[in-house]
Symmetry: D2
Subunit: 420 residues, 4 copies
């Protein structure tokens, strides 16, 4: 489903080792107990992520391309298959947190076993198909790195002891929340979709043309300060700002603030991976649903972007992706905007008002890869831009992330546009 | 939210009387008991439709524009408000079928009372605002005429006695299911959205430009014959055709055929408003969910249209809407295609693969009319073309109907496209 | 399962006609619409009661004992079978209110058809088995008369228009709520269970011995006055009075008063079959769950009776059952105690703290009658004494009514005991 | 609520240490991961049991009787309070398995801390109240020892890897499944309830008289052989054996065999704490619900005992409780009956057809102890006899265990009686 460059084996070996070990680095601060629990269906136990990503390499590569490969444990296919109907029966998603075995130790043995065999495979001559699947395996591993961060946050952040995952970095002193400016984007027929070299997911293709009406877009994310104003002015109590489904969600769920926020003695706090702290008004608001983002936009008299507007706007900038606040920065949280950072990359995934649907001419691949993206193209919205939990090397400006409109446990945020 | 023409009062009076009495004509075949029940939340009791449409005229027009108007019964606001948060508390939707009172007789008295006062209002000079609301009330009434037909079908079709609503018309003898041809639509930037005179809903606006890739579209709807082939070739058993949510829906609901179909002694029958009958292979398939439509398209190696492709394609034809099989034909069921009817209008609403989202520049109106369309713009898909239960005078080529992807009780169907 | 006296045919004919027509009398005040709805699973539509009781005679008697009997409509077995696994598939209980057909008119035709054939059967010589089933059919009909009253009350009492079923009788003026006295019951081995002539249900047998510790029992039911005191003193807010399941029920259901009570401008009102009225402090409290009765007892420092204590206590009195406030009195509501009425009979069913379990030596009958009582002997509590909705000729001192501890729509109430 | 003997401090210290360390011995075979999960609401994570029993000592004894006691961690009250409304807010029961912290290590530190302080307290002079609460704490600890065994079994037995908890002991060779005999119990007025010295729970009091009809009782438990016959003869398919609620349970749950049974290649296996093994026909059947026990009894043409019949029957024997198969035997599973073991004690808890209701004259204690037993006296059935997971020193012939009729994860079994 995606092409792969012509890298030498050494580059691939080094990339494989670095990405696989990065996953384990993410888990370093965890106690054994933290690897096991699944407080809600969306959140998988960290040991499941570790096993599942190994299972992906075993199933998609070793079983197919490593001659004479001996499966580590036949029972693991049942346990670590996520959603591939084409690869047999699997554990109910909601049962992942009910399994105390395999132990964390066994799961790490499984990783080592798979790594060793992949490394052996990588010493030989590799055909294009193997390389392609390897690359997909690595991209898949990086997706689970982001999920590990957000799932660990859920697990620790819903514990009454509020454990710290990583001490806060000092770096955000000196940041200045700059004034908001609007970038003007002229109307026209633009090309969207992936058309560079390198890796892409099938959902970014085919490249195609879009007619875009002229619009203006904020060069900053919405901050907690602004969001608190929305809250204080009755944002959660006035139905006229809300989509009907959103209004129903906040009633039935009792939402009155972003996820992870709690009021203590009249002061809003939020759980971060550095522990419970006062809400910083200069940071971008995060952990909000699409419903909240859209209601906030209505309250503001502005609107969310479409995914195509986002992509076109970014192409007008010089994308300096590497300057974004991605996982490598070690913040594990969005940071206030500095003077010249427009925050399009990293920090928070930006909800767009675009359904996650196929691009014109898209067709699902045959076999398990056809289940990777295509079968989820209903009922979800596209998010753009990457977050503080995304590996920067995993990100592209054409990247389409997608979630249901009520999800709040990812690092999600808001950018607004208006017509002119 | 919508303009209204400059019709003389007489025209309006006549239009008001004819549309209001049409609603009652639809209910003529019912027994008192049929007016009361609500077998699922989606299906409202006919007496509720009768009351709610009257409440709409009372609330939106009489209370505001008829000086000295005396409300028929203050309790009715609670009972007959559908979903207007701005107009106070209301009965839970699921409780509509739990109310034996007001009686059918009282509801008809309520209609008469409202009609009498509207007629009185219509004898005077009417300003544009009143006329606009009157027109909305009539359009609203027509929407409920379609819902009355589909809800009555649900009520009678889920009764083990399978009562007949209207005897079948003889007209479909002589019809010939013609060969399918593909119409070729060239690429280009097209204008979509409402830009004629007359009534429109706010969701059809603003007119805006869309870039459309070239494509080919079938000049026929998918028939029962073709759908039976899909079923017989394992369509409902092969997950690779299905969206993930669709596959889950057919497992959990046990769907194996269109709604209203049942197998008797090895022969597929379907409940129609003329009673239970053998499935006619030449009729367009109907009462299928978006999930089924999309899976069928995958099985066919083709795809659904977007709502914009549909609108553009139709503009290439000479829209002869009035020839479509609408409610006025009295079939209450889709009919086989004859030689020169491309079935774009009437028969069945065609599922598109377009999310029901706002057009660029759309803004919700203030007040209750802002709740009419805008707040539903999430989680639903657009359907185009009208059905055998739609009043023809209610339909336009820019009309956007919308439902969640799992709904099956409307007259929904399939048209396919492919790239070229 | 129960013996039957040796009555002449005429007596039986007259009894049959009178009981069957009594059911129709109960339905007289209803509009057609009232016959149809089922607001909760426990409450059946009145037309279903009318059909089901006819179905019982058709199935248990006509099909078996009337030679050449032609079934009225074969589809009715599916519709009107309540819970008899031995008599084939049946409609889901929760779907009874979804059926607009058969119409009320058809159901009455069905009744007439069944009545005519039973009357024909009664002109011939009847064997004991037929007579036994006839008697069961009549007792069954009387049980549904009580359910009709309570179900009609639910249907009308949950309608925002609060329709009146029957105008209030003037009779309760002049009643005096007498002082409470305690009757002392000595310890001993007593016989309990049915051992007179006449009809009984199998659950009242076998007669057997019980050792009863000495106790004292109130000669009055608990009044609204006393229950209001419980409410005002925080009865619903102090968990220490409550069984764990009860506490959970009042939390999750939001119960703060008896069923049918509502506060209007600071004054407690209750819906009665004569309409909404102020709570009369002298009337026995009714429409309370077992949980509430038991919590009230704890608050009082007293306790509920067991079913055996109730039966033994009553045997010490001269049971003057006919003086009780049963359905024949036309009150359709409990009335204040007069000087010499100890209220053991009629007014309200008294919750006992006895599980509805089989008496020693009880065995279920074979066939459908074995499903009548025996299969419900788990998870329910026994109620004794009859209510204002019970036909007096249906009642006996050994009668065991039974409901789950959270049910509130029957006329249920409280009598207390204490040890001495 | 219960008296306590006049034991010297040394005896108490030794008893405290031995029972507390026994709990830890039970957990020895666990991996850290096994301590954390909660696959269903009924099953608590082992680390929760360890924390909760320590919390009980801390809350009921140290906080009240140890002057200057410093609470280990104030957050633990929220986490380890099970159901005591009187001791403040608490974690939702269903969230116990969502907490990775406190870690297992911390929970053991908590135990040590509490143990150390209790030991300090035990060196001083103790008044009767302190001693009473200490004894309750130890009895409570023993109850959780049984729950630990059954919850560990659930956790391991629902893991697709079926881990072994303890290797099977060889002891059951040589056992002979003896013929069943019936013991005849004469009618009469008997005393039931606790009236020896030593510890008792308040629900075993007051001693009171019961009239018992004569009956015969099996001197053996029902074996797997007999239960397989029930299964093979359609026991789970014939509604006539079942209570209505039981029939509904087996339909909705899909039960076709005891819990932990699974068919592999046509042979019935069951998970035991020694791993998955073939069903041994000579062992007592276990892990069945009351519904199944009662249906089995009906199929047999016999019946279950009441709790009073059980107690009276046992008093006719020379209770040799210590010979029973309790937890100390190390089997963790019921064993076949040998020639002279009537299996009244240990092996499996025997379902009785007696509701768990208060004995005559019972009153709940004030304060938290009042929540220990009394508030659960509804909706549950009494089980008698102890099981292979019960500490023998915790058991008495008057002991009343209680569970809802659908529970299957405890070691529950069947003994039958009949009238004569």
């Amino acid at each position: 489903m995606q092409t792969v460059g012509t890298l030498g084996n050494e580059v691939i070996i080094s990339r494989f080792q670095s990405i696989r070990s990065q996953t384990e680095t993410i888990c370093k601060p965890l106690l054994t107990e933290d690897y096991v629990v699944q407080p809600i269906a969306d959140v998988s136990p960290p040991k499941w992520h570790l096993g599942h990503t190994s299972w992906f390499f075993e199933t998609m590569i070793l079983k197919r391309f490593y001659k004479g490969y001996k499966i580590f444990d036949p029972a693991f296919n049942y346990i670590f298959n996520s959603y591939y109907e084409s690869i047999g029966d699997r554990l109910l998603r909601t049962d992942r947190g009910n399994l105390s075995r395999p132990s964390v130790h066994q799961v790490f043995e499984y990783r080592e076993y798979v790594n060793r065999h992949i490394n052996e495979l990588l010493t030989g001559k590799l055909d294009l198909e193997t390389l392609t699947f390897l690359e997909i395996g690595l991209q898949h591993e990086q997706q689970h790195q982001e999920l590990l961060i957000t799932d660990i946050k859920y697990i620790l952040g819903h514990n009454p002891l509020f454990p710290v995952y990583a001490a806060k970095k000092k770096q955000d002193t000196g940041f200045i929340s700059a004034d908001i400016h609007f970038l003007e984007i002229p109307e026209g027929v633009y090309e969207v979709g992936f058309n560079n070299g390198g890796f892409y997911f099938d959902n970014e293709k085919p490249v195609h043309k879009k007619y875009i009406q002229k619009f203006k877009v904020m060069d900053r994310l919405i901050t907690n300060r602004k969001y608190l104003q929305f809250m204080n002015e009755g944002g959660y109590r006035n139905f006229s700002f809300w989509l009907s489904d959103g209004w129903e969600a906040i009633q039935s769920q009792g939402w009155k603030a972003p996820f992870y926020w709690m009021e203590k003695d009249g002061v809003w706090h939020e759980y971060t991976l550095s522990g419970l702290k006062k809400v910083n008004p200069d940071e971008p608001v995060t952990h909000i649903s699409f419903y909240e983002a859209e209601a906030f936009a209505n309250w503001s008299g502005k609107r969310l972007l479409t995914e195509f507007e986002w992509e076109v706007a970014v192409n007008f900038l010089k994308p300096e992706i590497r300057k974004g606040n991605f996982i490598e920065s070690g913040n594990f949280h969005p940071v206030p905007s500095s003077g010249n950072n427009r925050q399009f990359f990293g920090d928070v995934w930006e909800w767009t008002y675009s359904a996650y649907h196929p691009y014109p001419g898209y067709r699902r691949a045959e076999g398990p890869l056809g289940e990777y993206n295509g079968k989820f193209m209903i009922g979800q919205l596209v998010l753009r831009g990457g977050s503080c939990a995304t590996p920067v090397s995993h990100f592209r400006t054409t990247y389409r992330n997608f979630f249901q409109p009520d999800k709040r446990w990812q690092f999600t945020g808001i950018r607004l546009a208006e017509n002119y």
